[in-house]
Symmetry: C2
Subunit: 208 residues, 2 copies
DNA sequence: GATCAATGTTTACGTTCCATACATCACGGA
DNA sequence: TCCGTGATGTATGGAACGTAAACATTGATC
């Protein structure tokens, strides 16, 4: 109905359209009730058409997840302008939880199911979402502690997001940002104290 | 084929059998490919029989999840014998991650999907899994900080478990327990430092 | 022994994923 | 100019699944 499509038998670029439609639909429906047929119909195309572009449903969801990671990374990058790494990390946490709360269904697609490729796990590769994160952490934490600090922050962020998104804890009503900020603060104190104590027992407490 | 069943038209207690079968199957298959029909067949019963005991598939999964929480609580309770709360909390973390690693599919059933009842969220109620947790935390953390400490620990534990269970991080090869212990240590340092510093900035670091 | 509620069966329908065979278009070389 | 070739979308249909409705079977109770 638009510029290039005369009596378009061929859709143009169905692949991108399907991913975009899926992203749009996830604003309102849960991942489970996202169907290939539904997407195809929405795109004004036959029910089997998507299979020209995606091996199966999982492949489409995988592409959707990838788009989600791009968006998430964009959000994190946009708050990476703080000079102090500690503030940047807290801003990351707020943005991360904000993303999950804004797009809970997309977040579930991103972290549910099997990973896109078996060995494509989360890493500290700076090009990835978590690389941003990791780079900032490296400015605060000595090398020996980086791996554990990375995992701890990652787990906290994902855990909180996941609990909220899956309705396991009451969404903090008005302010998930406030909650993210407080928990990130607690975590960072742990990470930094760990860096200071440098090893083993955290700091001789009391007695016994 | 056993004692009470002659030519059993009636199964006996199909409900429990179905839950037990689901638990057993989850040792090997993923939650998505768990079907009511499959369970019914496995129980030697017609495909519609489960509907006498469960409203729908979600209801059965909900019962399975409940059984999972009972088991998880049992595991946590069994390591609650440390005198020192700090050690108990670390033991909880290890047991928690151990459970998730032992039964990844069950863990996903427990925390995936929608919560059993809309307002049956995770709480610090001592009868629940997380109540054990919460009770120990209360021995270390002043009242004003308890809610945030609880959420922080919960998020960390669930986040780590979830990342491992969903294949997002390389299962720490041989020793998830070691990882759990280290991350729990980091978290507790944060929580305790928070309790000590009592507010705001953690502890003047270095400079700048 | 007859009645009844609980439990399991049968049949059937709609939805979904997907395999296969076919139609239509875009484009480049003879 | 015309045709072949590959990319893309369509049509048809099967299999698995969830679930609704009507029916059969059983054991307990009066």
């Amino acid at each position: 109905m638009s510029t290039s499509a005369r009596a378009a038998y061929h859709h143009g670029n169905l692949r991108e359209t399907l991913v975009a439609l899926a992203l749009a639909m996830l604003e309102q429906v849960e991942p489970e009730q996202l169907t290939l047929r539904g997407l195809a119909e929405e795109a004004g195309v036959s029910g089997m058409a998507p299979y020209r572009h995606f091996e199966d449903k999982a492949a489409l969801l995988s592409a959707v997840a990838e788009a989600g990671f791009v968006e998430l990374r964009r959000r994190l990058a946009s708050v990476d302008d703080e000079r102090k790494p500690r503030k940047a990390l807290i801003a990351f946490a707020v943005a991360y939880i904000g993303f999950a709360c804004d797009k809970p269904n997309l977040y579930r697609v991103m972290f549910g199911g099997a990973p896109p490729t078996p060995d494509d796990r989360l890493t500290a590769d700076p090009r990835t979402v978590f690389g941003l994160f990791s780079t900032r952490l490296a400015q605060l934490v000595p090398p020996r502690r980086r791996a554990e600090a990375f995992l701890a922050c990652l787990s906290l962020a994902h855990g909180l997001a996941s609990l909220i998104v899956n309705g396991r804890i009451r969404a903090p009503a008005d302010e998930p940002a406030k909650l993210a900020k407080r928990l990130a603060g607690v975590m960072l104190r742990g990470v930094l104290t760990s860096a200071v104590a440098e090893d083993g027992s955290p700091r001789r407490r009391r007695r016994r």
